[in-house]
């Protein structure tokens, strides 16, 4: 019997209609856990680097996290993995909610989708019954609207649905896959649209077995209280009405400027009133005591769910107020548009218009007001109409397709992908490394375990370090040695980057939410889950025999395998550059030293390619063989 996981994947070929329930190799679980880890292995084995992301042979993989559906609170994240047409690299995003646990109860750890349907279809999974169904009648419908329609026509109200909106159907690069209060972004929705897969509906009523039942429940039970009471986990900012942190520190417009002094008590009272007015309730993901998402009802819009920094991204990009943000989210969530990258594409287009690079010719009857312009552009983009067809390819490609100097306005993308609108003063060593070398495209998916700033008072710092259970010993030393307004050493910076990303690779394999672990340690250092208690949760649930060293090793294996996916597609040192203006004060000499040190520390060569020795040591001999054959090692 398999524990925590089902031991089966669902293989779907949309070109031929072939459906198979395929048993999986338990050894892969031991070496990669699940989620993103095992998905990376499948992508390595089955998608050759020459494959165009828009070709039927690209795979779209929905992976349950290894602990999805077990009693472990907050382990509900589903990983979506593919190759992105925007970056031509590995693309990965996670979504919470209820989908992963439901899929496991239906009897599957993953859905592996290949091919392309001749017409728009949706997938209906009810335990052992799997059907590819016509979705012609769902064409053009909003993502959540689609879910509601499917549940109604199946007469299965408990079905969980992940769907694309019009943006995905029209292969907009910023398209998301939406599921109730969660969504997957960064290049996965566009591939779902390319495969003409409108939605996946799943209902499962099978048991998920636990290896060591009483022991697991004994450590899970107190976590409900621990997570609920812990002020440093979940999304505390979502519950705050004081938006100083975001409006002061993030850049407005096309990632252009920080507006100090914008926030005041008056505005806070106004925004609070508007927010309370549109909020129906706070909602949670499966089996998690935190409530990070607002259910929102905005006049004239269908009910939607607001998550994370999406609360402000459109308003800040458009120099508008929060009312506008709630309004446009009502449209963009149904269209299935990512709330991080889309506002930047819109602000970029507005800048091009103001600079005279885009004119009335491309933007006929372009409204005079910023809010009106954003709505106008959204409608064009999701339909790929006129200039919308170009903008739908994201800032990097659109800038080059428009030309006429538009390239200069693409100042906030990296590796062809829109970055979080942050423009800061002095280069930050660990952040330089995280930006440059991260495979997950968005800093929020890379940073998170080591605090962002040192505590000024040495005694307070000592106190913090004393109770810092999550940190391996060396990080306590680095933190104690870190004085305000000083850089951590190169050694510390390299290790900080390493630890931060490793924790994400753990979460993304087992399905625990980053808000309970990998993202939240940087704020207060007291996460419910960490390197030293997760091995027990995993071992008791899945029957593996893990300690923190072995867990780290598995995460490092997954990290190197994903690196290898990108290396095989051409990623090299030359690509590993944060946006040029991310920091005002750069230090090219130090940046070179940092990157050299980091590559060396990781066992990569000076071009950022994992060496044969590194790969072989991690049990990735098949990767090093492939690299040798392709002449990738120099």
């Amino acid at each position: 019997m398999r524990y925590a996981e089902t031991g089966y994947n669902l293989e779907i070929d949309l070109s031929t209609g072939y459906i198979e329930r395929a048993e999986t190799d338990p050894e892969l679980t031991e070496s990669h856990l699940g989620g993103q880890g095992t998905a990376a292995k499948i992508l390595w084995d089955r998608v050759p680097p020459e494959a165009d992301p828009f070709s039927p042979e690209n795979l779209l993989i929905f992976s349950t996290g290894m602990l999805n559906g077990t009693p472990v609170p907050g382990a509900n994240r589903t990983s979506v993995d593919t190759f992105s047409p925007q970056t031509n690299r590995y693309s990965h995003s996670l979504f919470g909610g209820f989908f992963g646990p439901e899929l496991k109860h239906a009897g599957y750890d993953k859905i592996i989708i290949t091919g392309r349907a001749p017409d728009l279809v949706y997938l209906w999974i009810r335990n052992d019954t799997v059907e590819i169904r016509d979705a012609g009648h769902l064409s053009g419908l909003g993502a959540l609207e689609t879910a509601a329609r499917i549940k109604e026509e199946l007469k299965e109200p408990e079905t969980q649905v992940a769907a694309i909106g019009l943006a995905g159907e029209n292969r907009v690069f910023m398209a998301t896959i939406e599921h109730i209060n969660s969504s997957a972004s960064r290049g996965v929705g566009v591939v779902m649209g390319d495969k003409k897969l409108k939605a996946i509906a799943v209902r499962g009523t099978k048991d998920i077995n636990i290896a060591r039942p009483a022991e697991l429940f004994e450590i899970c039970h107190p976590m409900y209280k621990e997570i609920y009471d812990n002020p440093n986990c979940g999304d505390p900012m979502a519950h705050e009405d004081d938006e100083t942190f975001h409006v002061d520190n993030f850049a407005w417009g096309n990632a252009r400027e920080r507006r100090k002094g914008y926030w005041n008590k008056n505005r806070e009272a106004q925004w609070t009133r508007i927010t309370e007015d549109v909020r129906l309730r706070w909602t949670s993901c499966y089996n998690c005591p935190k409530d990070c998402h607002q259910a929102v009802s905005y006049k004239g819009r269908p009910v939607y769910f607001q998550k994370c920094f999406n609360k402000l991204t459109y308003a800040m990009a458009a120099y508008e107020e929060i009312d506008f943000n709630y309004d446009i989210l009502g449209a963009t969530q149904e269209y299935g548009l990512d709330g991080f990258s889309t506002p930047q594409v819109l602000a970029f287009a507005v800048e091009l218009y103001e600079a005279g690079i885009l004119t009335e010719e491309e933007l006929p009857e372009f409204p005079p007001d910023s809010a009106g312009r954003f709505f106008w552009l959204v409608e064009k983009i999701v339909r790929r109409e006129g200039i919308g067809d170009t903008l739908a390819n994201g800032v990097y490609h659109a800038a080059r397709q428009i030309g006429r100097g538009a390239e200069a306005y693409d100042h906030n993308s990296m590796k062809k992908f829109e970055q979080v609108p942050l423009k800061l003063g002095m280069i930050n060593y660990p952040y330089f490394l995280m930006y440059a070398t991260g495979e997950k495209m968005n800093i929020t998916q890379i940073e998170g375990s080591f605090p962002q700033i040192p505590i000024a008072d040495k005694q307070d710092r000592e106190k913090f370090v004393e109770g810092w259970e999550a940190a391996p010993e060396r990080f306590k030393k680095y933190y104690m040695a870190w004085e305000p307004r000083q850089h951590p050493s190169i050694e510390a910076s390299v290790n900080i980057c390493d630890w931060n990303e490793i924790m994400h690779y753990i979460d993304d394999a087992i399905g625990t939410c980053a808000f309970l672990s990998s993202f939240r340690g940087q704020f207060g250092g007291r996460t419910p889950y960490h390197l030293f208690n997760l091995p027990e949760f995993i071992s008791f649930a899945a029957g593996l025999d893990l300690d923190s060293d072995r867990l780290w090793e598995i995460a490092a294996r997954n990290r190197n395998l994903i690196r290898a996916l990108n290396v095989r597609r051409g990623l090299r040192r030359r690509d590993e550059k944060p946006p040029a203006d991310h920091w005002k004060k750069r230090d090219p000499e130090m940046e070179k030293k940092l990157l050299d040190a980091y590559y060396q520390f990781k066992g990569w060569n000076e071009d950022g390619i994992p060496t044969k020795e590194t790969l072989d040591k991690l049990g990735l001999g098949y990767v090093s063989d492939d690299f040798t054959q392709r002449g990738i090692f120099r």
Partner: protein, 195 residues
């Protein structure tokens, strides 16, 4: 209302009842369904050996686009389908009648074992006397579910008194010997009924 009662005889004809109940506050429910998971794994055999919300004796009826989040515990089984599905509007929200109904019935999949289709019923987790509050309440940190206990002391027209009176009337009419013969026959034919 479906409530569990524990009866303690405190004096002849006087009983103290501890009425156990789970109070539901739908406005506080965040829809996490931890109650379902905890219920299913608590009642698993071996205990905590699996999870399966489809076997849970509490379910959150969710219609997220209508802001409906209603935890409902499993009550009795009804073999007949419900004839009416009225909709109720409470505080501006529309709920289907099914949202509040505790019955296991053929109209819907709630509260039946997914394999056998047999009805399941909430037992307030009384199989584990050490537990204190039912498991679903324990994991509901939002306090959408709260456990209540209250004592009720009642002067009992006990079942025994009713039986004595009824048998007395029958014995007057048919004679005590006849009654004894019938009871003897019944016990051979339906041994479990008298058990």
């Amino acid at each position: 209302m479906h409530k569990m009662k524990e009866t303690i005889v405190v004096a002849d004809g006087l009983t103290k009842k501890i009425v156990k109940d789970i109070h539901v506050n739908v406005d506080k429910c965040t829809g996490c369904r931890a109650c379902e998971l905890a219920c299913s794994t608590f009642h698993a055999r071996p205990k905590y050996g699996f999870t399966n919300p489809a076997r849970a004796r509490i379910r959150v009826i969710v219609d997220e686009l209508r802001d409906v989040f209603v935890p409902v515990r499993a009550g009795h089984y009804s073999p007949t389908e419900c004839p009416g599905r009225n909709a109720y509007t409470i505080n501006g929200k529309t709920y289907s009648e099914c949202s509040f109904c505790k019955m296991a019935c053929p109209s819907r999949g709630y509260f039946t074992e997914p394999d056998s289709g047999l009805p399941i019923q909430c037992d307030m987790c009384e199989s584990d006397l050490q537990l204190g509050e039912p498991m679903c309440v324990q994991v509901c940190r939002a306090d959408a579910l709260t456990y209540t206990e209250r004592e009720e002391v009642e002067v009992e027209a006990t079942a025994q008194k009713e039986l004595d009176a009824a048998l007395g009337r029958l014995a007057e009419k048919h004679g005590i010997q006849k009654i004894a013969e019938v009871v003897d026959q019944m016990s051979k034919k339906h041994p479990r009924r008298l058990g």
